[in-house]
């Protein structure tokens, strides 16, 4: 036991879980709602409704959350030290964007143990775009001694809708930052907690999901699932058009969005499996985008007509 304590003292950098705690605490102090990861497979924190939908409309909002992000084509069977089927993002949305947002962001780096004056930190042009979500923004990737640690974006559009006010989206790449802090070369060597490594906790998942998405998924079944989710999303969105009164206020636009997210993930699975032809690829992406854009428009319409909460209280 004694030996272990000594070892811990010599270890540098925050544990993976402490990194999450520090970032959470920092942004909670900045008035953020601390949210939880979304419970549907997503490719990025942006797809969480707390970003995709909350940035729409006029209401101010600040939120932070961890989002495990699945990118089936990036899986490497747990054999590559830097590439993952599923990585974790810490996502912050500040709406409207504060004037000192860059300084705030830099302070957050200080909070996780990065001494700003000892490093070369820069904001290098990198505009972000998600063709399946009809979303894009202008901004940078933040480089810490040459390492990309954060995507920093002034959101311009979400679901094809011009945003007003503008939100800032900060997406921290947790594994990378943690590896930097701990000075380890492989993500699997990261200390997650005092006595567990990232590999202890996640390696099996990486191996199995890489195996699944590259070699063993049933492409025909996935395709059929895509069609089913698209169908439900469309039915819900069509229903909203004619819904009235109380029905309209409670109409499950959020469920339509869940189906949209499912479609996006299923598309990624098909892509990783290598079963999408050229022409089909663009067409499938356009189909997901159409649902995403319709969802955004419906959400905004519902938001401006009445808020669900008021209805419940009445």
């Amino acid at each position: 036991m004694k030996v272990k304590v000594k070892l811990e003292k010599r270890q540098r950098g925050l544990n993976f879980q402490d990194l999450i705690l520090q970032l959470s605490q920092f942004w909670v102090k900045q008035g953020c709602v601390l949210q939880q990861p979304y419970d549907v497979e997503v490719g990025a924190g942006t797809m969480h409704p707390e970003t995709f939908l909350r940035v729409l409309g006029p209401n101010p909002y600040r939120v932070g959350y961890v989002q495990p992000s699945r990118r089936p084509a990036d899986g490497r069977y747990g054999e590559n030290p830097n590439r993952l089927y599923k990585h974790s993002q810490f996502q912050v949305i500040l709406k409207p964007s504060p004037v000192d947002v860059q300084d705030l962001y830099l302070k957050s780096l200080g909070a996780i143990g990065i001494h700003l004056k000892e490093h070369d930190i820069r904001f290098e042009e990198d505009n972000w775009e998600s063709p399946t979500l009809g979303a894009w923004g202008i901004g940078w990737q933040v480089l810490l001694d040459g390492l990309e640690i954060t995507q920093f974006t002034y959101f311009q559009q979400s679901g094809g809708i011009d945003l007003d006010p503008i939100s800032v989206e900060l997406t921290y790449g947790l594994e990378r930052i943690c590896a930097f802090l701990q000075g380890v070369e492989s993500v699997y060597d990261l200390r997650w907690s005092a006595d567990k490594t990232y590999g202890d906790i996640r390696l099996m998942e990486e191996q199995q999901f890489s195996e699944y998405s590259f070699d063993r998924s049933d492409a025909a079944a996935i395709r059929a699932e895509f069609e089913l989710h698209e169908k439900q999303a469309k039915e819900l969105l069509n229903g909203f058009k004619t819904a009235e009164g109380k029905d309209r206020v409670r109409w499950p636009i959020l469920a339509a969005y869940d189906h949209c997210l499912k479609c996006s993930h299923l598309f990624n699975l098909m892509d990783a499996r290598g079963v999408i032809s050229t022409t089909e690829r663009a067409a499938l992406m356009a189909r997901v985008r159409t649902i995403a854009c319709r969802t955004a428009a419906a959400y905004l319409e519902q938001l401006t007509s009445a808020t669900p909460r008021r209805e419940v209280r009445a």
Binding site: R83, L116, E118, R122, F123, G146, I166, R281
Partner: protein, 714 residues
């Protein structure tokens, strides 16, 4: 109007403080800000004697204006009113008309005076338009000078009603002769407070003049002048290289970029594991340059050394923390490249061919798999042509194989990760997997030349594949209506056409451009997507390629505008032949007979055009209808010269042929001196026109002299 002298000169400091502006856009923005300010000052008659200098760094655009008049000149004008007879009673007292004119002009009636005009004497009043102060004018001009900057893609950081700029504007400095101006840009009020380097300086520095601004910023970690930053980078790069006895792997574009990526550039050296030197140099250099903005260093023999030079944006790295970070990132990048290098080659390059079906070239032209088949067909056609002409290096099978493999690397992980390595990766894999060197080199080179300064593929097989690929791109895109416009050329067709021209000329390839277009069109209609090319489109493509060729001859090879026009008018389907004729024409043109003969040819063309006789039309000359010796002499001179010229032309001796043609000058001059072409007798007249037509027909096949010496001559 006459300006009233007012000579006090003042200095302006103007700074737009921003969140980090993309480095690649700063040089243009800096230049544009300068011209905007100059233009706006000029429109306010304030530009005389003024020096405007602009500078930029990631977080700021700065303008320094010197020698500005403190105040616009006052301008005195005279306004004429009613005639004297209306304005004054005969006794001299002002009438109502004079009183109301004076009132309207805001002057006392006694200040009116008389002026003499062509219509008689009139009443006049003097008006002095007071010049506005520079401060007043700048308040309006400066926001405009920023607003008018053009960016590839602007943004808003507040909302739809908010300002638009390349990145959020956070502060404005506008100080005129020590005093802050009252203005605002993008919703930010101006002041006299700038900000230093994010980590090296204060975030609030008051400034009164440019001199102080530059000095204070320097001590707060910002070198204002890009030229000074460049000098610092160059000096430190050289010092590092010298210390380790190495050379910088030269990269002009990177040198320029790092000037604008940093406010306080400092060069540090890092190392990497020499084991990575097993990877091809091309890959190492691109990973360092494109992804990390590092300079590679090489030994005297040109081999890469296991070090890199990074330009960082802080004053130094005494603890080596930054260096360690950069080394770590590079290690991961190289490890990735190493991983791709191995994993990509678990299967052979050709095995990637089916995967190309999933990569679109252009939606209507299908996938790269489809393109490969077309490029193969065109490559075979080209090499067969050359083989039949006796070119020993024309290897049909090798060209076909290279074309088959050329695009395979697009499906590899390496190219997906490093797209700028397309072609190179395929070539390296092909070589490593034992394809013939000729094939591997052809794959490696087939995107070349990517510019006029880039070399062409090193072997004929590579030239065939490169030509075939580019021909297919140009013909395919034109066929589906993707035609380059002034601002948009998404498939880089201009570059492709220039590449075609450059390969043909550099390699001196016998090739008919129109037949090549035909071969590409045939591939497009017989193979996927089975799309036809109309004759009008083929003509359009030919013109497009020939336009590039004209450009190359004029801008790169230094031929005159008229020389190029003259030769192209005589035909340029075979560019190598056209080039020979250009050389001959340029050489002969200095001889004494040439320019006068060119004038005569021009005259002949005009006469024929006026008489409505097409030059190609072959009316026969009837010697019996000649009336004067000059006609007969010209006729025999033409016949005599024609035989010689044809023989010389066949032998490719264009200069000699032109000498013979130039020798016609005397006969032509005598003809025009002694013969009236437009004779009254119709038969005689037509016969003379036929003679001129024949002359033009016979002697404009090397170059059409009637184009020589036009106004567009350079």
């Amino acid at each position: 109007m006459k300006p009233v002298a007012n000579e006090k000169r003042v200095e302006l400091l103007f700074e737009v403080g921003c969140e980090e502006i993309p480095a690649g856009m700063l040089p243009k923005a800096e230049e544009e800000l300068r011209t905007n300010i100059e233009k706006l000052l000029s429109a306010e008659s304030l530009s005389e004697g003024v020096t405007v200098e602009t500078f930029s760094a990631p977080r700021r655009l700065t303008a320094w204006v010197r020698g500005l008049l403190a105040k616009q000149p006052d301008v005195e004008t005279e306004v004429t009113g009613p005639p004297k007879s209306v304005a004054y009673e005969p006794v001299g007292a002002p009438t109502r008309a004079a009183l109301s004119f004076a009132e309207k002009q805001g002057v006392h009636v006694s200040d009116l005076y008389l002026v003499q005009t062509p219509k008689g004497e009139y009443v006049a009043a003097k008006q002095i338009k007071l010049g506005r102060t520079a401060a007043q004018i700048l308040t309006a001009i400066l926001p405009r000078s920023v607003h008018d900057l053009t960016w590839p893609r602007s943004m808003t950081w507040t909302g739809l009603e908010g300002a638009r700029f390349i990145r959020p504007i956070r502060w404005i400095v506008a100080v005129l002769e020590g005093k802050p101006l009252k203005l605002s840009v993008g919703g930010i009020p101006a002041g006299d407070t700038t900000r230093g380097h994010r980590f090296l300086g204060s975030s609030a520095i008051r400034v009164k003049s440019f001199g102080g601004y530059e000095k204070h910023l320097h001590s707060n970690g910002v070198i204002v002048r890009p030229a000074e930053r460049q000098e610092k980078i160059d000096r430190e790069l050289a010092a590092h290289a010298k210390r380790s006895g190495l050379d910088i792997h030269e990269d002009a574009a990177l040198r320029k970029l790092v000037i604008y990526l940093n406010e306080f550039p400092t060069v540090i050296q890092g190392d990497f594991d020499p084991a990575f030197l097993n990877l091809p140099d091309e890959i190492l250099v691109i990973v360092m340059r494109d992804h990390q903005k590092y300079f590679a260093v090489e030994k005297k023999n040109g081999d890469l050394a296991p070090h890199f030079l990074a330009v960082i944006n802080v004053a130094g790295d005494s603890k080596g923390i930054i260096r360690a970070g950069h080394e770590r990132v590079l290690r991961a990048r190289f490890a990735d490249a190493q991983f791709f290098w191995t994993s990509d080659q678990k299967c052979r390059l050709a095995d990637y061919l089916p995967k190309l079906e999933r990569i679109t070239y252009e939606s209507r032209l299908g996938s790269f798999r489809d393109k490969v088949e077309r490029v193969r067909a065109i490559s075979r056609w080209l090499t067969e042509q050359w083989f039949n002409l006796g070119m020993l290096q024309a290897h049909v099978a090798e060209a076909d194989r290279a074309a088959e493999l050329a695009k395979c690397d697009l499906a590899t992980e390496m190219v997906r990760e490093f797209p700028e390595l397309q072609g190179i990766v395929g070539g390296l894999y092909a070589r490593a997997q034992g394809e013939p060197v000729e094939v591997a080199d052809a794959v490696y080179d087939h995107y070349r030349p990517v510019g006029l300064d880039d070399p062409i593929p090193r072997n004929l097989t590579g030239c065939a594949v490169a030509l075939a690929d580019k021909l297919d791109s140009v013909v395919g895109c034109f066929a589906v209506g993707v035609v380059p416009t002034g601002s948009s050329d998404p498939y880089a067709l201009r570059r492709a056409a220039l590449g075609i021209v450059k390969i043909i000329l550099d390699k001196k390839l016998p090739l008919s451009i129109s037949l090549s277009i035909g071969a590409a069109a045939k591939a497009l209609v017989t193979l996927k997507p089975k799309r036809g090319v109309t004759p009008a489109q083929e003509a359009q493509i030919l013109e497009f390629i020939l336009d590039r060729a004209k450009y190359v001859f004029r801008e790169r090879e230094g031929f005159g505008y008229d020389e190029v026009s003259a030769v192209f008018r005589a035909g340029a389907d075979d560019l190598v032949d056209a080039q020979k004729r250009l050389v001959a024409l340029k050489a002969i043109r200095k001889s004494k007979n040439f320019e006068p003969l060119a004038v005569s040819f021009k005259r002949i063309r005009k006469i024929l055009e006026k008489a409505n006789i097409p030059a190609k039309d072959g009316h026969h000359v009837n010697p019996d209808l000649f009336e004067s010796p000059a006609e007969r002499e010209l006729y025999s001179a033409v016949r005599d010269a024609a035989t010689k010229v044809q023989a010389l032309k066949r032998a490719g001796k264009y200069q000699e042929a032109l000498v013979v043609i130039a020798g016609l000058r005397k006969a032509v001059d005598q003809f025009f001196d002694g013969v009236m072409v437009m004779a009254e007798n119709e038969a005689v007249r037509n016969n003379r026109l036929a003679l001129l037509a024949e002359l033009l027909r016979e002697f404009t096949t090397v170059a059409d002299f009637s184009e020589i010496g036009g106004e567009e001559r350079r």
